[in-house]
């Protein structure tokens, strides 16, 4: 209590406040629930302070002794202010509290001796802690009043011989203080004029072990008081420059940050140069230095070195010492530092608009990146140069991304150059990648990761105009690099390929039956578990490649060639399925959840931005996302949930509300005619031979799309399905899963059939043939081969099948028309009365009843599982209920009712192939 009664000198010392008294009285007065934030902070901060050793003992810490009451203090910062002044300032004042402290332990615990030993620092430390809170949380008037004295206290700390951690804290407080002081004009002026040069001088004079703190402090000064630092610009420059090539990354980074701020120092015209001019001059100097460093580092290894011809003069670096062994390392460190300075100059804020010499910067980047490992001789210090090359390339890529970030879409003119540069670097660092076994990180993955990051940034910045992956040799090269980095290692793939056979697919909904998988594993070379390696090797580069690719597809998808889209589908879809079935895991990058999420992101991008001539993999994606939703990794599952919401918007496009069209408009029913299969959905294959002869069947294959389809009525008139046995368990359900989403987009808004003609002509198998094509082994289609006819050939007819009456019905087989096919011929009238045939015309005839599931529930239940499933699924409109036919037109479900499965849990491979080839047509184009 002696302590608290000590009179504290205030800046307005006339008031002569007794801090302690105030504190205590405040404590006494205010015991309310609300406490001052500042004090809460102090308490929290000192929570870790040495506690009382014995449970019964009161805490001895003076601050702590105040603190139990402190949270209830009203914001009366004057009281803390006193404490701070008292303890934070060094020298004479400090001796006071120290002696005051000495009296404290009498009533407290045994920690005292320790405290007395370290008391000096701790007191200062506590002062700084309090000051940090005060600076942050004091109101403006108070801050304005005391800022200068606080600044002086900090300066005293800086001039003292305190240990580096205290300095660090002091500088942290200083930074905050300067940040707020710069916002108040009078304070700003005062500090600029009177205090800043002194402060900088003391920072410059800090001991070498406090170098980091010194740089932090200078950076704060330069950031908030750039004008005032102008007078010391030269000194600062040489200080920073001597540390730009520091070996400690932290120190180097700070030195570079500070160096890059130099041009904005001083008044508008410092030494006859405007800020912008000095910025440009500095930039050119850095460019010149980089060129010359590069020349020295890779003398003779460059085929045709670009010479710098700009106005810049080399930055004066301290001449390297004789130690010949390290000269190359030193040069590399310099190159790194200067390149980083340049990048920081480009990417940090600058007050005035500047003119960025893009061509010159690109020149140095290209020169660096075109140094190839092949041209470096392996004699002498060649190997060392070779070893340093990847890091040099990394620096150049960092510079490139800074340039992209700074210039944004303006770089479009140089887009061709950039998209050539990226595959070039990938090519350069592609050595010896295939020889490694899985579980081992491939070489140069850092450089490759960086390249992909640059690619992503470039597409982020330029969007669809980035022009990446749009053909050309460089696009092809980039694509193949991307694909190779995305593909899981080879023997993991081997596991996947031999799975499944036609009947294997028939067996069960789980094509990856464990028995089968084991067998395959037995055939594999060596179980990955017996190998040394990282389980998630190459996951960084894989994730980066996926990110770059998905961003590119998302932004430029419609501009990317159809062929490329197909290749991506062929890689991504099996990969997703394989990952979900745990097959590609082993020691592939996809053990990392980050990679898996990026894979899903790529799938989503493929779905959202398809090529106009290659339908997106909607059904597969739906399946993949709903499986992915169940992953344990929250990162992945939450992404999949988000993606499913997006997919839901695709599959159920919103129809504009009726009301907005006004009562005056003779608006047709809002529900689109369910039968009109859009030409977009017209499958690129033909119905087998006898089919064309069926009556109302429109021309098969790609169809002209004018008007509603004539088949609309015929389809609706299909008779109700007789409920039958559950049907074949596995394969039968698969088609029902690939529910197309395209129900309400007017067909006229979709591009005409000519879009798909090309695609359908590509595969000769798709040409019409006399007999239904044989069933395709599921994995063959899904594993990346061309799309196959989607007809399923069943050997036996089943009661639940709707038989299509073919005039030349010589075959016993039943043709099941999969979803997506234009239409079905009217089935033979069955025993029950067919429902009234819907008119073939526009749906205006049918009232737009928003049919719910409930009304259908009862008859469905009576009719049996098949019908019920249909009824339950089709909540689209009354039309469907009335049709009650073989096929629910809205969801375009398959004929066989047993296809229904309670959930979309599982897709057989056949389904996948189907979906990947046709179901995908359902992408909504709006």
């Amino acid at each position: 209590v002696h302590f608290v009664q000590r009179r504290v000198p205030f800046s307005d010392s006339t008031r002569g406040v007794f801090v302690g008294t105030r504190v205590m009285s405040a404590v006494r007065q205010v015991q309310g629930p609300r406490g001052s934030v500042a004090f809460q902070g102090v308490e929290g901060l000192l929570r870790e302070a040495p506690p009382a050793p014995a449970p019964g003992c009161p805490t001895w810490d003076p601050l702590r002794s105040l603190l139990p009451c402190c949270p209830h203090l009203t914001p009366s910062p004057h009281s803390i202010l006193g404490v701070t002044e008292l303890r934070g300032s060094g020298g004479g004042v400090c001796s006071g509290p120290a002696s005051a402290l000495a009296r404290w332990p009498a009533s407290s615990g045994a920690r005292l001796p320790l405290r007395v030993v370290t008391g000096y620092f701790l007191v200062r430390f506590e002062g700084l802690c309090l000051l940090s809170l005060l600076v942050g949380e004091s109101p403006t008037e108070m801050f304005q009043q005391h800022c200068v004295s606080w600044l002086r206290s900090i300066q005293q700390v800086l001039q003292s011989q305190d240990p580096p951690p205290t300095m660090e804290l002091a500088v942290a407080v200083l930074r905050d203080l300067l940040r707020y002081a710069a916002q108040l004009p009078t304070l700003f002026r005062d500090i600029s004029m009177n205090h800043l040069p002194g402060l900088l001088t003391s920072l410059l004079g800090l001991r070498p072990e406090c170098e980091l703190s010194a740089l932090e402090g200078m950076k704060a000064c330069m950031t908030y008081f750039p004008r005032a630092c102008g007078s010391l610009k030269g000194k600062l420059a040489s200080f920073f420059l001597s540390r730009v090539d520091a070996l400690s990354p932290q120190l180097q980074q700070l030195a570079c940050e500070c160096y890059s701020r130099l041009p904005s120092l001083g008044a508008g015209f410092s030494q006859g140069l405007k800020h912008t001019e000095s910025w440009e001059q500095e930039l050119h100097c850095l460019l010149a230095s980089l060129h010359s460093l590069l020349g020295t580092l890779y003398e003779g290894a460059e085929t045709a070195p670009v010479q710098y011809e700009g106005p810049g003069v080399e930055v004066l670096l301290t001449p390297s010492e004789d130690g010949d062994a390290h000269v190359l390392l030193r040069l590399r460190q310099r190159f790194c530092g200067l390149a980083r300075c340049l990048a920081l100059m480009l990417s940090s804020e600058f007050g005035a608009p500047v003119s960025v010499p893009v061509q010159e910067i690109l020149d140095v980047i290209c020169r660096t990146l075109s140094i190839s490992a092949k041209n470096i001789s392996l004699l002498g210090d060649g190997p060392l140069r070779l070893l340093l090359l990847p890091s040099i390339h990394l620096d150049a890529l960092d510079l490139l991304s800074a340039l992209i970030l700074a210039c944004g879409g303006r770089l479009l003119r140089f887009g061709a150059l950039i998209s050539r540069l990226l595959p070039q670097v990938l090519n350069a660092w592609n050595l010896g990648r295939d020889t490694l076994s899985p579980g081992q990180e491939r070489p140069y993955s850092t450089v490759r990761t960086k390249v992909y990051a640059v690619l992503e940034l470039w597409v982020q910045v330029c969007g669809a105009s980035a022009g990446v992956l749009q053909g050309g040799a460089s696009g092809e090269a980039l694509l193949s690099h991307l694909l190779s980095d995305i593909s899981p290692p080879a023997d993991a793939l081997k596991l996947r390929s031999p799975r499944g056979s036609p009947d294997g697919g028939l067996q069960a909904g789980k094509p990856s039956a464990p028995k089968k998988l084991k067998l395959d594993m037995g055939e594999a070379v060596a179980p990955p578990s017996h190998r040394k390696g990282d389980s998630n090797a190459n996951s960084d580069v894989c994730a980066a490649a996926l990110r770059g690719l998905s961003r590119t597809v998302l932004m430029c998808g419609p501009l990317i060639k159809e062929e490329t889209h197909r290749r991506l589908h062929d890689l991504v879809l099996p990969l997703v399925m394989g990952v979900q079935q745990g097959e590609v895991l082993g020691s592939s990058p996809y053990t990392s959840s980050h990679c898996r999420r990026e894979l899903y992101r790529l799938l989503l991008a493929l779905l959202l931005a398809p090529s106009p001539r290659c339908p997106p993999p909607l059904a597969c994606a739906l399946q993949a996302f709903s499986l992915g939703q169940r992953e344990d990794s929250l990162e992945v599952s939450s992404f999949c949930s988000e993606a499913l919401v997006t997919c839901a918007a695709l599959t159920h496009p919103r129809v504009p509300p009726l009301q907005s069209m006004g009562p005056a408009c003779p608006t047709p029913a809002p529900v689109p005619p369910p039968e009109a299969p859009s030409p977009f959905r017209a499958p690129p294959f033909h119905t087998p031979g006898p089919m064309p002869s069926v009556g109302p069947m429109p021309s098969v294959g790609p169809m002209p799309s004018a008007g509603p389809m004539p088949s609309a009525g015929s389809m609706a008139s299909a008779g109700p399905m007789p409920p039958t046995r559950p049907g074949p368990p596995a394969t039968a359900n698969h088609l029902g899963l690939s529910v197309p989403g395209l129900v309400s987009v007017p067909p006229r808004l979709l591009p005409g059939p000519e879009n798909h003609r090309a695609g359908s002509n590509e595969d000769p198998v798709l040409a019409p043939s006399g007999t239904p094509p044989p069933p395709i082994p599921p994995d063959e289609t899904f594993g990346g081969r061309a799309p196959r006819p989607a007809f399923v050939h069943y050997d036996k007819e089943e009661a639940s099948d709707v038989e299509i009456s073919l005039e030349s019905d010589s075959d016993d087989s039943v043709v099941i028309v999969p979803e997506g096919l234009p239409s079905l011929p009217p089935p033979p009238p069955s025993g029950t009365t067919p429902p009234p045939v819907a008119p073939a015309g526009p749906p205006t005839a049918s009232p737009p009843v928003a049919a719910k599931e409930e009304p259908e529930e009862l008859p469905a239940a009576l009719a049996g599982p098949g019908v019920r499933a249909r009824g339950a699924r089709c909540a689209r409109g009354a039309r469907c209920a009335r049709a009650g036919g073989a096929r629910c037109a809205h969801t375009r479900r398959r004929v066989r009712p047993s296809l229904q499965r309670p959930q979309r849990g599982c897709v057989t491979t056949e389904d996948k192939s189907l979906a990947s080839s046709h179901g995908i047509c359902s992408f909504s184009r709006h």
Binding site: E43, L45, E48, T118, R413, G467, G557, L749, H926
Partner: protein
């Protein structure tokens, strides 16, 4: 630009939609801006007459107007209404003008050529001469990746900006799509949202409006009218197509109705509820408000009308002094409303000659004039981040200083009494910090939980081994 818009969001109470109109007489002013819903005249820009489809906003900072029949473009700084700031000289009379939404490029149709300037340097990057008659309308897609041009030669061309910019000088750049299904001159075009996935409506004197898709180049829809169509626009959601006829009627075509037809004709008598009647002469320009409820139309009958789309009623008629050449609805940029606004970048000198060509233009250095660090806006560390950083410094200081002190000459009993050298190991520090920050607001919430039990927290920290991160808020025993 987004930066400035962001600032405006804070200042203004609500986004303000304004109508920007020009007429070809321009007796008092060349361009007038009025508040859309109240009709209050906000400001005018003076000097010259803007030609049809010749008004464009550059970067939210400048207003550009192609002068009717003259070979220059006027540029006003948006906040300085009455002084004509700069004239951009062009090789010939500008027939249409547009700017890219990202503010980086200016496109002008001059006779049958399209000129493309880069705003950050002022360089004339390319001259496209693919049309063989005058270019009548130009527009960028919303993401600035493509632009479209329509001409009197009945062609609509879709250009990909990146291929236009990167073509080597020896080859002439070619458009991505050539749409040649119109049979008479193109009068207007409108590009919807979606960048490369956008849909484009084009109108022509051949009495049709056609809807196209940029990604595939397909014709999606063609609507035949009784009269030539002079202007076309869509609402943002692309539910309706509005077509201004040469007889003064405006037709509304619903895009989301059934049955869908690829070709259809619009019968005014049948679709009487879809015609806006009121203009007495041909409609020259159309624009829809952001919410899709109001349509603005300008006509050769010297009026600008505002329509309620739902009821087809005319809400307001503004009479100008001459045939209306431009009328569009836009969100008012900040610079338009605050006079103390300054453009972020000076308008460059626009070169008259192609970049790289050997002409007398002042050679520009290759540098792009730009503002640096805009991408860093808003990425300053937050309060909590700073607090955490400070806390880290404090903890490390405490640790080092404390440890140093103890290593010095701390008496034995003290050590015995406090087995742990210092309260928390770094990892515990972090954990406890995480526990604190996870409360949402950092320190205070911690404080409120343990305010009454400073002792207990103290006990916890004496024996770090016993205290798990989840337990520090245990109630005090006494």
């Amino acid at each position: 630009m987004t930066y400035f818009r962001g600032v405006s969001g804070g200042k203004m109470a609500a986004p303000m939609e304004v109508a920007v109109c020009t007429d070809s007489a321009a007796q008092l002013w060349s361009c007038v801006v009025w508040e859309l819903h109240s009709g209050a005249n906000l400001l005018t820009y003076r000097g010259g007459q803007a030609g049809p489809r010749g008004l464009a906003l550059l970067n939210g900072e400048y207003l550009l107007a192609a002068q009717l029949g003259k070979n220059y473009i006027s540029a006003w700084e948006l906040q300085r209404k009455d002084q004509l700031q700069q004239k951009i000289m062009c090789p010939g009379p500008v027939t249409c003008l547009t700017t890219s939404p990202n503010g980086l490029y200016v496109l002008a149709g001059i006779a049958e050529n399209i000129y493309l300037w880069e705003v950050s340097t002022g360089n004339l990057l390319v001259i496209l001469s693919r049309h063989y008659q005058d270019v009548s309308c130009l527009q960028f897609t919303g993401d600035s990746s493509h632009f479209l041009s329509g001409g009197k030669d009945c062609l609509v061309l879709v250009w990909s900006l990146c291929s236009v910019l990167q073509v080597d000088p020896s080859r002439t750049p070619s458009p991505r799509h050539v749409w040649s299904r119109h049979t008479l001159p193109i009068t207007d075009l409108h590009c919807g949202f979606g960048g490369p996935l956008a849909r484009v409506a084009t109108s022509s004197l051949d009495q049709t409006v056609k809807l196209w898709e940029v990604s595939s180049g397909e014709l999606l829809l063609s609507v035949l009218f009784d009269v030539g169509i002079m202007a076309v626009t869509m609402d943002l959601a692309e539910h309706h197509l509005f077509c201004g006829g040469s007889d003064g009627s405006i037709f509304q075509v619903d895009l989301c109705t059934w049955p869908g037809q690829r070709e259809k004709s619009f019968q005014p008598e049948q679709d009487s509820g879809k015609v806006f009647r009121g203009h007495r002469n041909q409609v020259t320009c159309l624009s829809v408000s952001i919410d899709g409820s109001v349509l603005l139309s300008g006509s050769h009958d010297e009026t600008v009308r505002l329509w309620d789309i739902q009821s087809k009623q005319c809400i307001r008629t503004v009479t100008l002094k001459g045939p209306v050449t431009n009328a569009s609805i836009m969100l008012a940029p900040v610079s338009m409303l605050s006079s103390d606004f300054r453009p972020g970048l000076p308008l460059p000198h626009f070169n008259k000659h192609l970049l790289g060509a050997e002409h007398g233009d002042e050679p520009h250095r290759g540098g792009f004039t730009l503002r640096l660090g805009l991408h860093l806006q808003g990425s300053e560390p937050s309060h909590q981040q700073r607090a955490e950083q400070l806390h880290a410094v404090m903890s490390s200081t405490m640790e080092k200083v404390g440890a140093g002190g103890q290593a010095g000459d701390a008496p034995g009993p003290v050590l015995a009494a406090t087995p742990a050298p210092w309260p928390l190991t770094p990892s515990l520090h972090r954990a406890s910090w995480a526990a604190r920050t996870s409360c949402g607001s950092g320190w205070p919430s911690w404080r409120t939980r343990c305010g009454t039990c400073a002792r207990s927290t103290a006990t916890c920290s004496t024996s770090p081994r016993a205290s798990s991160p989840g337990r520090p808020s245990e109630p005090a025993p006494g």
